[in-house]
Structure formats: structure tokens, C-alpha cells
Amino acid sequence: MEKEIFMNKYELLIIGGSAGGLEVLLEVLPQLRTDLDYAVVLVMHRRGGDSLLTGLLSDKTKLAVKEAEEKEAIRPGVIYIAPADYHLLIENDKTFSLDYSEKIHYSRPAIDASFETAAEAYGPLLAGVLLSGANADGAEGLLQIKQAGGLTIVQDPDEASVSYMPQQAIEKNAADKILTTRQIIGLLNELNHSIKPGNR
């Protein structure tokens, strides 16, 4: 059964990706509405190169892009990036915490850690997207988003440059929707609260 999606309720969109995921973001970001009224958190696997990612992505959009800071309050319309070499956790009071615990799936930041804590904090007000990657990270977290009533989207493995990560999520039955980059862009824009259901 197709899950009923009430488009204009989501407060947080969280996107995870690994190998091949950055390319998707570079395509998605320029096409996101610039009056975005939900918050976005990006958890990307990468090696070192701390601030480079923030610079690279902020060039692609007029929206504010910044590295998530310790105990910072999550605000709508801002794109937050998980810093390198820490797990990014989301607290129930909708602030960030950083965590320097063991790597998960050889990764820090781990997508699972952010997805799971975001699912706890936001429940049905969370939308999660899992992109291309060669790693099993993210699938379990995405499932928890779904179980908490959130909306889950997986990049179409046929389109993803590395299909392993999306495939893992699909096998876990964690995906509400399997979409191409184009479709993801369309859906993310429709999640904006400013769009009333009648105008669709």
C-alpha cells in the first residue's frame, strides 16, 4: 500500500550519501527552492578535507549552508553539513550534538547515527533520503525513520553510480519511495510548507 504523504508537514530533511552521493547533491542543490521552509542536514562520507565540502556546496545554492555546530539549534531554511570525523547526533530538543565514538561501518560521520537520532527527535516530521554509496551505512537508520512514521526515499539503484547503499535499504524494506535524482528534486520542492495541498 502506498503510504499517504502529507507534503507540507516535514520539519527536517536528512540526506545521507557515500561514493557517488556528492555528485547527486551537486545536481540537487541548485534546483532546490530558495524559500525552503524546512531544515536540511547532509551526512556525507568523506576523507578529511574538513571545510572544503561546505564551500563546495554553498556555491551551489542561495540557501545558507554551514557546518553543524555543537549544541546549535536547528533552524528552517538552513542546510547543515555533518563535520568530518565526528558523528552528528540530533537531540530531542532539536539541537545538534557531536560524538567522537567508534566508527560505524568504517565511517565517521555515520549516516545511521544521524538518521536514528533524527528519527527519535522528529518522528513523522522527518524525511530521509539515502543516496549512492558502496557501504551498508544508512540502511538501518532509514528503516528507523520509516518506523518512526517519517518519509523515506532511496535513490534508484539503477541510476546511482554505486548501487550498493540504496540496494541495502531497499532490501531492508526501508524505502517508501525509490526515485531518480530528477524525481527527488521534484519531491523535495513539494515538501515545502508554502505549497498548499490544493495548489498541487
Binding site: 555543537e70 563535520p83 547526533l89 550534538s97 567522537y100 565514538s101 537520532t117 527519535e120
Partner: protein, 271 residues
Amino acid sequence: MMIKDAEVDLLLTDLMDLYGYDFTDYSKASLKRRINRLLLLDKFPSFAELRFRVKTDEDYLKRFVEEITVNVTEMFRDPSFYRYVREKVLKVLATYPLIRIWHAGCSTGEEVYSMAILLQEANLLHKSLLYATDLNPDVLEKARKGIFPLVNMKQYSENYILSGGTHEFSDYYTAKYDHAIFNKELSGKMIFATHNLVSDRSFNEFQLILCRNVLIYFDKDLQDRVLTLFDQSLDALGFLALGSKETLRFSTISNHYIQQDKEKIWRKKSS
């Protein structure tokens, strides 16, 4: 099985009532993940059983405390930080007849041994005392031994070189099986003691305090209380070093401190 917020609170209250460990002002997301991890690792069929075990088995309590706090650490983590200490901070500390350094939340000690190496290379170790504290006695026991996994040495050696180190890193330890046993002269000036940043007081005055990657586990109020404790324990013109994502900004003590370049090192003003 996922633990509920109310269950986390129950456990924290038990720890407080029975043993005096106060985790109530810790960031909840991390604690909750650690407790869930422990439920899985130790194969508890239910939360109730975990709780019973914590309440009745002191040995298990030790494990519980050790596992819900995060002990991950490295030698020469953030090499540019150590480079700054090497090139700038030690120059100032060299002017003191006795150098007192406090590593608060030192975990298994990798940070303390890194500092001892810097001091030795600056020819200051002989007149230094490194106080290394943590709330967890088990990690301190490991720190005291100075034996670390050999597999990590390649990474540490790279970090060391990036921090400006010019010696042969492997001269600082003896390899035995899969362990690196660090030279005793490095630990000769270290004093290990349990100290709980939540409940224990200032115990000395220091010229340099390091507390890295500990405050991220505390909520804002507790962070502020601990920073005040450091302020009380730091000499005028002393240095306070935090983890790469931690800051003094927004804290009540920030007015008395000046950040040093872009590093997470602040210097206390003269008055």
C-alpha cells in the same frame, strides 16, 4: 529493541541514587545510543534486566559506566593543534620553574603521552607535572601502563610528523607482539587520578588545561559549570585547550579569555 527516554531517565536516577554518578546533565542522544549498544552487546532480553543488573552488580556497574561514556582517543589527534602547542604554548610555559598541566577526561592517555613527547623534545619534561584525570578508573589503569595497540602506530607516527615532530616516532616505544609499550621516562612525570568533572572540585592551579572532546557530551549548563571549574584552576595567562569542535564562545568565562589564532586554545587574561 530501543530504549525509551523515560527508561534512560530511570537508569540515570539509579546511578545517581545508588552510586553518586551524575549523568543527568549529559547530552541525551549519545547516552541513549550507548545504552542501546550495551543492551545489544551484552544481550539483555529487556530493559528491566539491564536495570536490575546495574542496580545489583557492582562489577557490572563498572562496565556500564565505562561503556556509556565514550573513550575513543588518539595520539597527536589534530596535528595542527599539537604544532601550535609545540611552537607557541611551550615557549611560554618554558619560563616557569615548574610546569603544571591538567588533562581532564584523558581517557586511556594517548593525549598525555603525546604531550609528554612534546615536553621532552622541548627539554621541559624534567620540570613538568602532567595531571591526568578521568571519571573512569579503568581507562586510567590503561593510561598508567602506557601500552597501546601497535596497529595504530602508523597513524600516530604520521600525526606526529604533521605536528612538527622530527624524531623517529618508534624510538618512543618498544614493540612487543601487537603492543607498543611507551618508554617509562615519558610516564615518569604523570599523575593519574579519578576526578569527576560533574561533582569534584578544583584541586590545583595549572598553566595549561586540556579538556578535549569531553564537553561535547555535556549539555550547555554543565559545559558552563565545567568551564568555570577550569577558570578557577588556571593561572592568570594560562592556556585552556578544547576539542576541535568545542568552544568557549557563549560561555560565562569567555570574557576573560583570548583565542589563540584559529586553534581551540584560549589564553586567560592577566586579571
